[in-house]
Symmetry: C2
Subunit: 195 residues, 2 copies
Amino acid sequence: MARKIDEDKIKRIKEATMKTIVDFGIESTTIAMIAKNADVSGGYLYRTYSGKQELINELFYEKVIALNNELAFLLSLNPTSIQPLLKTFIANRIVYFLNEPIASNFFYQLLHNDNFKLTGDLQQSVVNMMQKIKSIGIKSGEISEKITLFNLYFYILIYPVDYIHFKRKNIFESNVINTNDITSLTSTILNILKN
Amino acid sequence: MARKIDEDKIKRIKEATMKTIVDFGIESTTIAMIAKNADVSGGYLYRTYSGKQELINELFYEKVIALNNELAFLLSLNPTSIQPLLKTFIANRIVYFLNEPIASNFFYQLLHNDNFKLTGDLQQSVVNMMQKIKSIGIKSGEISEKITLFNLYFYILIYPVDYIHFKRKNIFESNVINTNDITSLTSTILNILKN
DNA sequence: AATATATGAATAAACATTCATTCATTTATT
DNA sequence: AATAAATGAATGAATGTTTATTCATATATT
């Protein structure tokens, strides 16, 4: 065998990619900047990724899949109420934002970039989970019949992320995101879904 | 005088810029693409704008200022209830989306790009308007005392835009945005603000 | 003819990507 | 145990492409 792979390099590349995009925007991030921030040679990236786009794609879908799995796990517990599911899911978003602000920010940026869309099977998985949540919520009386699957998707998966990140960059009162937001976001969403 | 300025060119450049960014993303949009789509020579742009960034900036802030003025106008009517104000504002967002999908989409993309932020005086203007809306809403009983200025800002200015655009690209039921969304969005937001 | 608009080829800088080379580590041979 | 050979990791200068921007020139208008 030859020299050992420095596993840390890939980790550093991922982190540097996210940080550079968060700091300068996807439009001005270059491979050279990423390599420099990761303290890795310019060409190293191409050993693992076929190029810049693939690297960014993989980082984004990694996170999308993690979110998908997280929700799937919460549903696998067969809850009879959506309140605890929603509260846990929102708490996780806030904890993630607090613990990994760069990754959280990176994900938020790409979430609104039309060039990144869900692939077919992930789409189907999300649709199935929303259907499951809807039937639980209707049975428990927490969700109005009028709520569409899109509404559920928007209020559970998109809205909390948006809220957190707009609060982060907001222009008003000094707004630190904290655990109080878990309760208020959860109750706001539950309230919306009831009507 | 000499040759007349073809005023239409600037309009075409603006439209081509928005369309190109909507179609390919800000990260892959080039001056050459914009010029081609606008049917204008490559260098023409530099007659009016100092460069690519300034062009995009100006387009974005034009829209931000228009939104600001729209809300300022609605407030200048000295309403005693926020319901009609909110309903009109949301209706305008939906009409804008339906009539000018490209411009609407362009604005939505940049709204979530951290490189585009409100300048000082626009910030102040927004803060003032939110304060005014809050005092009207509290007097009329439509807004809970607990609602922060950030909440108002988020639910009035950000949330409807996000909702419309996520519905546009959504993965569920065939979702055509239409005038029904005006009523449902308005009542959802009023409901949120009450609690 | 004078003057300002408009063009697009030319330029130079920035960029992603490649690849010859170096280097660290393991394995085989003595 | 010492040394050599083999392997594949890692580098970063070189390459060719893409890009924003400039500017000499052409064109239209008065």
